[in-house]
Amino acid sequence: MVYITAALYCEAMPFIRQLGLKKVTAETKYQLFTNEQFLLMVTGSGPVAAAGAVSRLFTQYPPSDSDLLINFGICASSDSGVRYGTLFYCNRINDAAAGRTYYPDMLWKHPFTEGTVTTFGSPVKYDGLPRDGSLADMEAAAVYQIGSLYLHPHQMAFFKAVSDHGADSDRLTPQAVSDLLMPHVKPVTDWAAAAASCLPAPCIFSGQDRALTEDTADKLFLSAAMKHQLFSLLYYYKLAHGEIGGLLSEFWADTDAGKINCRKKGKKYFEQLKQRII
């Protein structure tokens, strides 16, 4: 799953339209849109709104190690040489209020220009913009902070398109914002889908394996600590031999489970099982 957060509906609209996202009507607090691969939330503007929304998103839809979060939206740049609509993929996120800096991992190849974004608590006019070439937005640092509670640093990507140079933001209409962002939707989503496809989701132990482990632990009257040890042993056996069913079938075929009626006896047979595994 690729999670997308955008502050305003007009920033989300290009994704909704191009990806054919449908509104999730069960979500009543925020505007949420989805298809099979993407889940987009409109967070509201500013760091507090963004933090609250990301927290809600990941509480309601917990991410896994194979998911990706994209924060997408407009930003300001003090550099008048940067054209409107230029998209940056941010490798450095400054939190202007807290004075902290965050660094998403940049593991994937990409076709974008990289940059730094500084997050402010309110809109910044020209004089207040960072002079070090950094972009200015109002959400990225908050999204990173909350996102990092749920995700690894490589699972978060921050895309910002320059919409103004601080002095000219009043001209922006919702339609102008959507038009500005529309060309970036396909490159960003194509890249995100490719990156997410190679995030690993190893599931070594199946539900059936867990059930077999539980069953064995019960029959052997194992304590919690011994049960944990049994899990580790069977996990190793599964990695080494591909399955645990045959091992346990043979073990129980050679063992009279009816004789095991207490932990002391169970422990004796557990030792025998260990010998077969190591």
């Binding site: 660094y103 991992d105 994937w108 190849k109 190679c198 690993p200 190793y236 190591i278």
Partner: protein
């Protein structure tokens, strides 16, 4: 990870994080010259990147970044109990680089560091000063390439050359440069010193291929060791870690035989033998980071916080290796790790 997805990763050191205090300095620029296409990102302290929470070390190994920093504290550490001191009383180690270009499945660095990005401390002179302070009190045996492979990095950072030059001026300092590299030729022009020991970690070719990703082959390592021996450098052979794997007896027998087909026993200063062992805390993290590693998920025995194969199996592996090596080396040249 399949080969298709591997193509999506950035190349090694595509991003270089540079502590602000080092920006523009000559040694920084010298390193950056090797990476003209890298994205440079300024940071205030290396820990801002290296010590972030929840990093995925296994994925980072596919595309490690480089972090250039200056080390402020803990420049030299006392040798760890799980490491062999080779009879040296004043045993220390230092890390001017954290993490390694190689990707060995059993490597303790995966459990020790929160990140697979590589930190290079550029203030080597400060380590030299600290070493000189120790040398005022007693001779020092210093391992400089434990938490990395300095020889493999030599073309970019030149640390080995600088350490050799320092050792030449300090005869009571003995340094060990542990490596799996085939890069002796990087410093092949230097005159040999008896207080600089090159220590090659050697594994059966099957182990190199299965568990030591990106490392040179056994034959390449041996060729490099032979070149160093021919020049007169003291050579140490490290059969460490010994792994309890299928056919281990045959594999290690072939290894020893191959080694001494290439190297003359007389050219070997000494050799070490040690089974795989690692602190239980490190192993816990290593298992989390490599959930499909048969090697790491083996049910090791935990003895006083150190996980290993257990007394019986350790003895079996060690005794066999000792037997094999004694055919070529006298007993006093063998150093054996025992639990």
């Amino acid at each position: 990870m399949n080969s298709l997805s591997r193509g999506l990763f950035n190349p090694y050191f595509s991003h270089i994080y540079i502590e602000e205090a080092l920006a523009g300095k000559e040694e920084t620029e010298e390193v950056l010259r090797h990476f003209p296409h890298a994205v440079k990102v300024k940071i205030s302290h290396y820990k801002d990147v290296f010590c972030r929470s929840r990093q995925d070390c296994a994925l980072q190994k596919q595309s490690p970044s480089l972090i250039l920093a200056a080390k402020q504290e803990h420049l030299i550490y006392p040798g760890a109990p799980v490491c062999q001191d080779f009879g040296n009383r004043h045993f220390y180690y230092t890390s001017c680089v954290m993490n390694c270009v190689y990707d060995c499945e059993y490597c303790y660095l995966q459990g020790m560091y929160p990140s697979s990005h590589m930190v290079v401390f550029l203030n080597l002179e400060d380590v030299f000063v600290q070493t000189e302070i120790l040398l005022k009190d007693h001779p020092v045996y210093l391992c400089i390439s434990y938490d990395t492979d300095l020889l493999a990095l030599e073309p970019v950072f030149g640390c080995v050359r600088r350490w050799i030059s320092f050792a030449a001026a300090h005869p009571s300092l003995t340094i060990e440069i542990r490596t799996k590299s085939a890069g002796f030729h990087y410093i092949g022009d230097l005159a040999p010193l008896q207080n600089v020991i090159f220590a090659w970690t050697l594994s059966p070719e099957e182990v190199c291929q299965a568990f030591e990703r990106h490392t040179p082959s056994l034959h390449a390592r041996l060729a490099s060791a032979a070149a160093a021996a021919d020049r007169g450098w003291p050579i140490r052979l490290c059969f460490d870690p010994l792994l309890y794997i299928k056919d281990w007896k045959r594999l290690y027998q072939e290894l020893v035989s191959t080694v001494f087909q290439t190297l003359s026993p007389d050219s070997i200063k000494d050799a070490s033998i040690g089974v795989f062992r690692v602190s239980s805390e490190y192993l816990k993290r290593m298992k989390q980071r490599r959930p499909v590693s048969v090697l790491l998920h083996y049910p090791y025995e935990n003895e006083n916080g150190v996980c290993y194969y257990g007394k019986e199996r350790t003895e079996e592996l060690t005794r066999e290796m000792q037997r094999l090596l004694l055919a070529y080396l006298p007993e006093e040249k063998l150093f054996i790790w025992r639990s």
